[in-house]
Amino acid sequence: MSDIVIQVENLSKYYNLGVVGTGTLSHDLNRAWAKLRGKPDPTLRIDQTIQQFNNSTGKASDDYIWALRDISFEVKQGEILGIIGRNGAGKSTLLKILSRVTAPTSGECRVKGRIASLLEVGTGFHPELTGRENIFLNGAILGMTKEEIKQKFDEIVAFAEVEKFIDTPVKRYSSGMYVRLAFAVAAHLEPEILVIDEVLAVGDAQFQKKCLWKMGDVSKEGRTVLFVSHNMVAVQSLCQKVMLLDKGEMVQNGPANQIVSNYLRYCLTSTQMDQVWKNQDEAPGCEEVRFRRISIQINDQDNNMITMETPFLVIVEYWNEIPAACLHITLHIRNEQGIVAFTTGSCQEPGWNGQSLEKGIYRSICHMPKNLLNSGRHSITILVVRDLANIIYMYEDALVFDIVDNRDRSGGWFGKEPGVVQPYLEWKTEYVGSKIPSQRLLKR
């Protein structure tokens, strides 16, 4: 087997926190002087000094952070490896090391073939230069030769859909055109390994689709892709394998579907169905509005489990500090893939006409009917909206809850039904006879 193209062994990287600034020269001279006399580094903290003596790597102190610790993995040719994890999990650091932007603290990466990285689209674009000129410049920065770019030029322009503007300086481009052109150049690189970080967060839906399709194509041609994203849908549909990082360590590594759902299920916060703040100063919110209580309540007292057939209430209590404000609460309900199932707002209340609220405590209650959401983990983001248009505060994932599938499907399909919502709709099937004249069918 000689199809392993990336082999990473015990890769670690630590970062120096804090200010690297004033007094660094004297600091460095001090260190050098101490080293000369064989004394411990005076600028290290005491625990680090002890560590130094013990010659162990030990735990990170306040001034240092391990962005990556002992990561080892292998990637085979033609694979698309997804890398997921929360912010600060070390994903970007890993990509930066692989694309040689920074060096690791210890460990080794071995790579077969050329690597091209797309940590950000449009790196090296010069605003004064035209689209045509920038294609050459950007292509060269990404590692293509002039000849290669010439061959690909028409393809790139067609992919980016900027034929008309190719001789216009890119500073006059719309942001969408800019991004499309930048991605087009990168997509037409022909490295054996492509490293991509969150580039799909830009561009319109249609272009995103095109990019995803292109990435799939790239791997079919036998090239390898490393893909970092927060977009779980994209990760799941593109990658065969996924690696989950948390706090610089590799938590899991395996088939995409499994890892993604594990991540969503267990690595995010646990359920959070009732939050109360007694003290206004500590409550989340802004100057104008602070939350007092956010909770999910179930009418059925015997059972505190939410099933697909349990109606429940979302209660939001808040302090309003603005005299005569036109406020309402909006909820965004998300499923575990991060897709917003629907949004709803207290302005839907019958009789609501934007009347102003005086200062004081208010309570908004939303009735969630049964048979609406699909089973699985859901989160609710709460927005406080002023004058029907201005979001004055957004509390992301304020509530997190599970909906249990308890529908009776005896003898039928037991797996989870696909879909964001699972409403019970009215159905009727009737017997219309054994022979239907074709005319009658047409008339209907």
Partner: protein, 284 residues
Amino acid sequence: MNHNSNTYWDLIIRTKSGWFDLHLSDLWRYRDLTMLFVWRDFVAQYKQTILGPLWYLIQPLFSTIVFTVVFGRVAKIPTDGLPPFLFYMAGVTCWTYFADCLTKTSGTFITNAGLFGKVYFPRLTVPLSIVISNILKFGIQFLFFIGFLAYFMIKGAHIKPNYWIFLMPYLLLLLAGLGLGAGIIISALTTKYRDLQQLVTFGVQLLMYATPIVYPLSVVPEKYKWLALANPMAPIVETFRYAFLGSGSFNGIYLLYSTGTTLILLLFGVILFNRVEKTFMDTV
């Protein structure tokens, strides 16, 4: 499954490589990029300017006029018997090239931090492209100088260009090497000590007065001559003037000394630059 043989892999990324592992072959592979940077600098610099590349001529012309007035007329510093205008212009042309190479390359890491933080390419392509694009500028200014030289010769001034002018490409190489070497050393150090950046513009100005630009080497008292000659720029400028104007001091040993200094500076610079480029993203 024997992947441990290092010949199988094209690239091994690890903490540190040897001091002399300079990846210079990479630099050759990215030669197209270097040339594109040169071209970018040239095109982008004068977009949306009225005078465009004419600025290349205005700069040395005005410096020369000012020097002629201040140092020639007011301070009355001797010019080895040469027309003061040509004397100063020769110095300014050489010095501008060196100073431009030095100041612009010294900002390599700071000005390109955004780009360097996103994508890998041999970082040396940037300072190299600066030196090359400045050759264009130098070329224009040099022709300008030759034009004035011809004018003065026709008017019958006492000027004797000699065969040493064929040393010109070599002098240019030395100027480029010195500027690049010193520039990348400073650029490597500025990633940690920003103070150096302030020092560069100021220091280059001071260094000009330590170099025989506004005065000939011959007026330096014998006692301090060694000090003036310790500056590797001095023999280059003097040789340049000697070759084109036929007056001044020229000494092969001094030029050899400049060559040696340039080589050492360059080697040291490239090594330091390579050290820093690997991790500078963490300190910038």
